[in-house]
C-alpha cells in the first residue's frame, strides 16, 4: 500500500523535476523568447531532469521492495530470544517467523500466543515500519539528489536532447537484450538436464532412432517392455501436423488478408479483421475438444465411407484445427503489411492494364513479402509449440508414418506429457523432455537461419 503512495510521490518529484529543469534552461538563456539559443528544446532539459530524478529512485525502490522482507526477517531472527530459536533448522525458523508475521498482521496463528511470540511480533512490526521509513527516506533522497544534479546541468549549452536520447537508446538496447537473455535462460534451464539425459541415452539413438516408446520404466518398481528414445517419429510427427496446419492457415490467412485489404468494403474489413483475431485467443482446450469430438469423427466417417482406414485420432484432425487457430497470425500481420504497400505501386500496375489479382500477385505480395514471411514464421512457430490440440485429437502414439490419417505425436506434446505427468527427475524419461526441448530449439534455429537468408534474397525495397 505504502509503496503505491511512494510511487505517486516519486511521480510528483519527476513532474517537479521536469518543470524545474525546463525552467532553468529557459531562464538560462533569458526567457522564453530566447529558447532558440538553447541546444535542445526546453522539454528535453525537463525530461533529462525528470528521468534522472525518477529512474535511479525507481530502481532502488524495486530493489528495496524485493529485499526489504528478507532484511527485516534477518534482523528479526538475530534479535529473537535464544530460547526461541535454539536448535531450530532454517526451515523451522522460517515457520516460526511466519507465525510471528501472521500474528503481527492480525491473521490467524497456529499455536497459543506466548508472550515471547507477542513480543517478537511487536518487534517485527517495529522493524518492518523502520524498513519502510528508511525506504522512503532513501528513495526520496536519491530522487531529489539525482534530480538536483541533473537540474544543475540544465545549462543552455548542455546537450539535453542527446543525453535524453542516449538514455532512451540505452533502455531500448536493454529491451533488445531481453530476447538474448531469454534465450540464454532457456538454454541454461534445459542444457544440464539434457546433458544428463545424453549421459544415459546415446545421442545416436536419440537423433536417429525411429522408435519412441514412452513405456520405459519410470520408477524402479515399474518395468516397461521397451524403452526406446528415438526422436525421429516425434520430429516427423511435428513436421506433419505443422505442415497440415500451415496448409490450412497460409492459404486461408493470406487470401483473407488480400481480400480484406484489396477487395473488401471498408465496413467488412473493419469487422472481419478483429473477428478473425478472436481465433487466436480461443483457449486451446476448446480447439482440442472441437478437433477430437467434431473433426476427428467426421474425418473418420468420411474415410470409412470411401473405404479408408482412419485412426480415431489422426494428424489430419489436429492439423486442420490447429490451422484454423493460427489463421490470424497470417491474416492480420499480412494484412497490415499489404496495406502498407504504397498506393503508387498499385497505380503503376493498374495503369499498365493489370487486373487486381495480377497486381496483387506480382507487385504487392513481393513488395510485402518480408512482413508476410514474418507472419507465416510466427504461425509455424505457434503450430510447432501447440500441445493441447494434438494431445486431444492426434493422440500420443509416436508412429513413424507419412500418412496423415494415422495418429502421431509431436515433440511439444511429449515435452508436456513428460513434464506434467508423474515425474521423476533422475530418470531418462523425464530428462528426455529437456533433451527434446533443446533439440527442438536447435532445429528451429537452423530453420530460422534458412528463412532469414531466403527472405534477404527476395526482399524488395520500395519507394
Amino acid at each position: 500500500m505504502q509503496d503505491w503512495i511512494l510511487l505517486l510521490v516519486l511521480l510528483a518529484v519527476m513532474t517537479a523535476a521536469y518543470h524545474l529543469g525546463r525552467r532553468r534552461a529557459v531562464s538560462g538563456v533569458g526567457g522564453p523568447s530566447q529558447v532558440h539559443r538553447l541546444h535542445s528544446l526546453p522539454a528535453y532539459y525537463g525530461l533529462y531532469a525528470a528521468l534522472w530524478a525518477g529512474l535511479p529512485a525507481l530502481l532502488l525502490l524495486a530493489l528495496w521492495t524485493g529485499l526489504q522482507d528478507q532484511l527485516v526477517l534477518m534482523l528479526l531472527q538475530a534479535q529473537l530470544p535464544r530460547e526461541m530459536t535454539a536448535g531450530l533448522s532454517e526451515g523451522r525458523l522460517g515457520l516460526l517467523v511466519n507465525d510471528i508475521k501472521n500474528l503481527a498482521s492480525g491473521a490467524m496463528v497456529s499455536t497459543e500466543v506466548s508472550p515471547e511470540l507477542q513480543a517478537a511480533a511487536a518487534q517485527y512490526a517495529r522493524l518492518d515500519r523502520l524498513g519502510r521509513w528508511s525506504m522512503w527516506v532513501a528513495v526520496l533522497a536519491l530522487a531529489l539528489g539525482c534530480g538536483w544534479i541533473a537540474w544543475g546541468r540544465a545549462r543552455p549549452r548542455f546537450k539535453a536532447r542527446n543525453q535524453v536520447e542516449t538514455m532512451v537508446m540505452a533502455v531500448m538496447v536493454i529491451f533488445s537484450s531481453i530476447a538474448i537473455l531469454t534465450t540464454l535462460g532457456i538454454v541454461l534451464s534445459v542444457l544440464f538436464e539434457s546433458l544428463r539425459f545424453f549421459s544415459m541415452v546415446s545421442p545416436l539413438e536419440f537423433f536417429f532412432g525411429t522408435l519412441w516408446s514412452p513405456q520405459t520404466a519410470l520408477r524402479a518398481d515399474q518395468v516397461g517392455a521397451s524403452g526406446a528414445f528415438g526422436a525421429v517419429p516425434l520430429f516427423t510427427g511435428t513436421l506433419m501436423v505443422s505442415a497440415i496446419a500451415m496448409l490450412v492457415a497460409v492459404p486461408i490467412g493470406l487470401l483473407s488478408a488480400i481480400y480484406l485489404s484489396e477487395y473488401a468494403p471498408r465496413r467488412l474489413r473493419a469487422v472481419a479483421k478483429p473477428v478473425l483475431e478472436v481465433l487466436a485467443g480461443i483457449p486451446t482446450v476448446v480447439y482440442g475438444f472441437f478437433a477430437a469430438l467434431t473433426v476427428a469423427p467426421f474425418i473418420r466417417e468420411l474415410g470409412q465411407s470411401v473405404g479408408l482406414d482412419v485412426a480415431s485420432e489422426s494428424a489430419l484432425a489436429a492439423g486442420l484445427v490447429m490451422g484454423v487457430m493460427i489463421i490470424p497470425f497470417v491474416s492480420s500481420l499480412s494484412e497490415d503489411v499489404i496495406n502498407a504497400v504504397p498506393q503508387s505501386l498499385r497505380d503503376g500496375s493498374y495503369a499498365l492494364g493489370a487486373t487486381e489479382s495480377e497486381t496483387i500477385k506480382r507487385v504487392i505480395i513481393p513488395a510485402a513479402l518480408p512482413g508476410i514471411v514474418g507472419g507465416v514464421l510466427l504461425a509455424v512457430s505457434r503450430a510447432i509449440g501447440e500441445t493441447m490440440i494434438v494431445v486431444m485429437a492426434a493422440g500420443l502414439a509416436a508412429n513413424l508414418t507419412a500418412n496423415p490419417l494415422d495418429s502421431v505425436t509431436t515433440v511439444t506434446v511429449q515435452i508436456v506429457t513428460l513434464l506434467t505427468g508423474d515425474q521423476e527427475f533422475d530418470s531418462a524419461k523425464t530428462l528426455a523432455a529437456f533433451a527434446l526441448g533443446l533439440t527442438l530449439f536447435a532445429v528451429t534455429l537452423v530453420l530460422n537461419v534458412l528463412a532469414l537468408h531466403i527472405v534477404r534474397k527476395y526482399r524488395e525495397q520500395y519507394d
Binding site: Q343, L345, A351, G353, E358, R362
Partner: protein, 288 residues
C-alpha cells in the same frame, strides 16, 4: 519581374476591356474549339470531386487521332486530375468522384459494364512521380508484356525490353545492370524507366504527366523524339510545364486554370495569339 497568381487575380478586376473580345477574354466557358472530328477520346462535362472539393469544373475536351495534345496550366489547376480520368486511374483514390462522359472510340469508359483492364492496356499512363516497381529493371519493363502475353518467347521479351529501354533513352545506362532494382536508379532514370514500362505494352493512347520533369535536355530530346515517333500510330496527351516543350511536341494545347479548361486550340495559335486573358497572362509570364 514576377507575376504571382495573386497578382494575376488582382489584375482581373482592374484590367477589364469591353465588347466581344472582353467577353471572350473573361469567358467562363472554354475558349476555342475543344472538339475534333473523329476524336479518339471525347470528354464531356467532366467534373471531378475530391470529397467536397471540386477539382475539375465541367471540362469538355477531345483527343484526336495521331495527335499530341499538351495540357498546361499553373500547378494545382487539375491537369493530373483530368489526365487520370482518361484511364480511370482516379478509381483508386478514396473519395474521388468523376461525373460526365468520356468516350474512347465511341465507347463510354465510365460505363459500369466496361472493364478497366483492357481500357488501361489501351490507354497507358506515365505518372508525375516516378513509381518503379521494387523489382529489377528488366522485370519492370517486362511486367506489362508478361501479363498481357505480348511475347511468346524469352528472346522476344528480351528484345521488347531492350527496344523499350532504348526508346526511352535508358538502355545504355542500364544495359549491364538489368538485374539491379529499379528503385536504385536516379530520379531521371526512374522516370525513363516508367516511360519504357508504359511503351512496352504499346497502348493506343498514352497519357504522360510531366514525363520530362526530371530529365536533362538530352534525355528530354530523346523522349520528345519518341513522342513524335509514337504519334504516327497513337494519340498522346502530355502534361508539361515547359511551354517550349509543348510548342515543340504538340499539335493542340489546352490551358487549365483552377479546375477550368480555359482555352484550347492549335498550339501555334495558343502560344502566339491567346484569346483568353488568363491564357495570355500565363503565356506572357513565360521566361527563357
Amino acid at each position: 519581374m514576377i507575376t504571382t497568381v495573386e497578382e494575376i487575380q488582382r489584375s482581373t478586376s482592374t484590367a477589364m476591356r469591353s465588347g466581344e473580345l472582353a467577353r471572350v477574354r473573361e469567358s467562363r466557358e472554354t475558349v476555342g474549339d475543344y472538339s475534333v472530328p473523329d476524336a479518339r477520346m471525347r470528354c464531356r462535362d467532366i467534373e471531378v470531386w475530391y470529397g467536397d472539393k471540386r477539382a475539375i469544373h465541367g471540362v469538355n475536351l477531345d483527343l484526336g487521332r495521331n495527335e499530341v495534345l499538351s495540357m498546361i496550366g499553373p500547378s494545382g489547376c487539375g491537369k493530373s486530375t483530368f489526365l487520370r480520368c482518361l484511364n480511370r486511374m482516379n478509381d483508386t483514390i478514396d473519395g474521388c468522384r468523376v461525373s460526365g462522359s468520356i468516350q474512347l472510340d465511341g465507347e463510354e469508359i465510365y460505363d459500369r459494364a466496361l472493364d478497366p483492364v483492357p481500357l488501361r492496356a489501351r490507354v497507358g499512363m506515365v505518372f508525375q512521380k516516378p513509381n518503379p516497381f521494387p523489382k529489377s529493371i528488366y522485370e519492370n519493363v517486362a511486367y506489362g508484356p508478361r501479363i498481357h502475353g505480348l511475347t511468346t518467347s524469352k528472346a522476344e521479351l528480351d528484345a521488347l525490353v531492350e527496344t523499350s529501354l532504348r526508346k526511352a533513352g535508358l538502355w545504355d545506362e542500364v544495359k549491364d545492370r538489368l538485374e539491379a532494382p529499379g528503385t536504385g536508379l536516379s530520379g531521371g532514370q526512374q522516370q525513363r524507366l516508367c516511360i519504357a514500362r508504359t511503351i512496352a505494352v504499346s497502348p493506343e493512347v498514352i497519357l504522360m504527366d510531366e514525363p520530362c520533369s526530371a530529365l536533362d535536355p538530352i534525355a528530354t530530346a530523346i523522349i520528345e523524339e519518341l513522342i513524335d515517333e509514337l504519334r504516327a500510330n497513337y494519340s498522346i496527351a502530355i502534361v508539361t510545364h515547359s511551354m517550349q516543350q509543348a510548342a515543340r511536341v504538340s499539335q493542340r494545347t489546352a490551358y487549365f486554370h483552377l479546375g477550368d479548361l480555359v482555352e484550347v486550340g492549335e498550339t501555334n495559335q495558343i502560344f502566339t495569339n491567346p484569346q483568353h486573358r488568363l491564357t495570355e497572362d500565363y503565356i506572357t509570364g513565360r521566361f527563357g
